[in-house]
């Protein structure tokens, strides 16, 4: 690990003042320290924000919840309100990492975790995300974990977060504090930037912005929620593809559908055309097959991820069958029980 200046902040203005292009915020550290050990990330300063007040609670704001950026994954997944009203979020978080990592990893850090592209991790290889302008070794390389959609010629990497995929389907927002002290909120689907020609810049955050919370809108009554994750082993592995589905069926027809897809794009993926195909229709295998075709119409940008197209179609169909009651409600499908 390269040397760095360690700055522990007790006050958020002080933390913001210590930030800048060569600095990194550290909270849980489960991703950052790993990347620092192999010198993929080499910040000159680490700003420890774990002692800041007001960022570690899950607070009710009417029917909405405000999840502090330092709330751990374990705390969030286990919160009784989340389990009852937003079970999709519990499921997605529990599908990720290990108990040890979830105890340390934070809500803000989970959103900002880096890709698992092997070329990003290998400092002997070209990578525009790690070292801008060096090229993309994944082009023409091996890459079954790469993205299917939203890539650019400069970067094919996928975002691996389960939690962020669930938050996208749940239409959450990210609360951000600028160095000026001004607070703004950005919807999940606007928080990440596509890679374009600068894949090193992954979000709308400025170097001295601090993510302070995630805002979760009130749960939708009568919805079924499911998170289906497909991976190489049963536990403690990143997704190959995942589907977060929130569906409401009323009078035999799909009344509402909110879908997000993980590990197939540089950020949690959405495709509103798929939801529009579903709403107003009676659940059927034919309908879901057509939705899957629409979702995966574009060709894979790398031959090694071609397999993700049928895998994603089947995962979507399975998730929709469960969430609409077309198949037996399997393990991992939860009905939102709105707390009193």
């Amino acid at each position: 690990m390269r040397s760095f200046d360690f700055h522990q902040s007790g006050e958020i203005g002080d933390a913001a003042g210590a930030l800048g292009r060569e600095a990194a915020i550290i909270a849980g550290g489960t991703n950052l320290l790993d990347l620092m050990k192999i010198q993929v990330m080499t910040p000159e300063r680490l700003v420890d924000i774990t002692r800041l007040d007001g960022l570690s609670a899950i607070e009710a704001d009417g029917e909405n919840l405000r999840i502090g950026a330092l709330v751990t994954n374990t705390h969030l997944a286990g919160d009784s309100r989340i389990r009852a009203g937003w079970p999709l979020l519990s499921r997605a978080i529990l599908a990720g990492a290990s108990a040890q990592i979830r105890n340390k990893a934070t809500t803000g850090g989970n959103l900002l975790q880096r890709t698992r592209c092997p070329y990003f991790y290998d400092t002997s290889q070209a990578c525009n995300k790690r070292a801008p302008g060096t090229g993309c070794a994944a082009q023409g390389g091996a890459g079954r974990m790469l993205a299917l959609f939203g890539t650019s010629p400069d970067c094919l990497a996928a975002h691996p977060s389960d939690m962020a995929t669930a938050l996208t389907a749940l239409q959450a927002s990210v609360e951000i504090r600028a160095a000026s002290g001004e607070i703004r909120t950005v919807p999940m689907h606007e928080f990440y930037r596509g890679p374009g020609d600068s894949p090193d810049i992954e979000t709308v955050l400025a170097p001295d912005d601090i993510v302070t919370a995630v805002l979760l809108p009130a749960p939708r009554a009568g919805t079924k929620q499911t998170y289906r994750k497909v991976r190489d082993r049963a536990s403690y592995a990143f997704a190959l593809v995942s589907v977060a589905a929130i569906v409401k069926v009323e009078d035999g027809r799909i009344a509402e559908a909110s879908l997000a897809y993980g590990s197939i794009a540089p950020h949690p993926w959405m495709n509103h055309a798929v939801e529009e195909m579903l709403v107003g229709q009676a659940p059927s295998d034919d309908l879901f097959a057509r939705a899957g075709e629409a979702l995966t119409a574009a060709p894979a940008p790398h031959p090694d991820t071609e397999y993700k197209r049928p895998l994603l179609r089947r995962t979507l169909i399975a998730a929709l069958r469960e969430a609409t009651g077309l198949s037996e409600s399997a393990h991992g499908v939860d009905t939102a029980r709105i707390p009193a």
Partner: protein, 166 residues
């Protein structure tokens, strides 16, 4: 840098580089070599300790961030002469071959019991609000601890056995 930790009930002052992980502080700074370094990247779980009562990978903790925190290592839960119930169960079930991952497995399982007691759900819990405790739950909840000798069936048996004793 100076950091004060409470390790196995004793206050310890350590002088360390800002880059030092809690794992290296425990092993090299304090001579507590029961905690093992496997991958040093949070993938294997050999370095698992309890931090303020919760299991973490000590290789992914910066010592400088844990001033005032409480750490429990394998040395803090039993001695070779007086093994605790879980340690005895690992011996009785033959829950290891080479033994390198065992301290991490035992510290992880120690925390697992507390998590189950609090009703914390896991990915395989059929009902998020009322998790049960069975073999599939043990396997899922222990997935952050790898055993290269693949003694998994005996590790799960030891944990189940120890749970029954409790």
């Amino acid at each position: 840098m100076q950091t004060s930790l409470t390790v196995n009930g004793q206050t310890r002052e350590v002088d360390h580089d800002a880059r030092q992980t809690l794992l290296d502080t425990l092993r090299d700074g304090l001579g507590l070599t029961g905690t093992k370094k496997g991958c040093d990247h949070g993938q294997c779980g050999a370095c698992t300790v309890l931090l303020n009562g919760e299991r973490v990978n000590s290789c992914l903790c910066l010592t400088a961030m844990h001033d005032g925190d409480e750490v429990t290592t394998i040395e803090g839960i039993g001695t070779p002469e007086t093994l605790n119930a879980l340690q005895k169960a690992f011996v009785e079930s033959d829950g290891y071959q080479c033994g390198y991952c065992t301290p991490g497995q035992i510290m992880s399982a120690t925390a697992l019991f507390e998590e189950v007691k609090k009703g914390a759900p896991s990915y395989v819990s059929a009902d998020l609000e009322a998790p049960t405790f069975d073999d599939a739950e043990i396997a899922e909840r222990m997935s952050g601890n790898l055993c290269r000798c693949s003694a998994y069936p005996m590790i799960r048996e030891a944990i189940a056995m120890s749970r029954e004793v409790k």
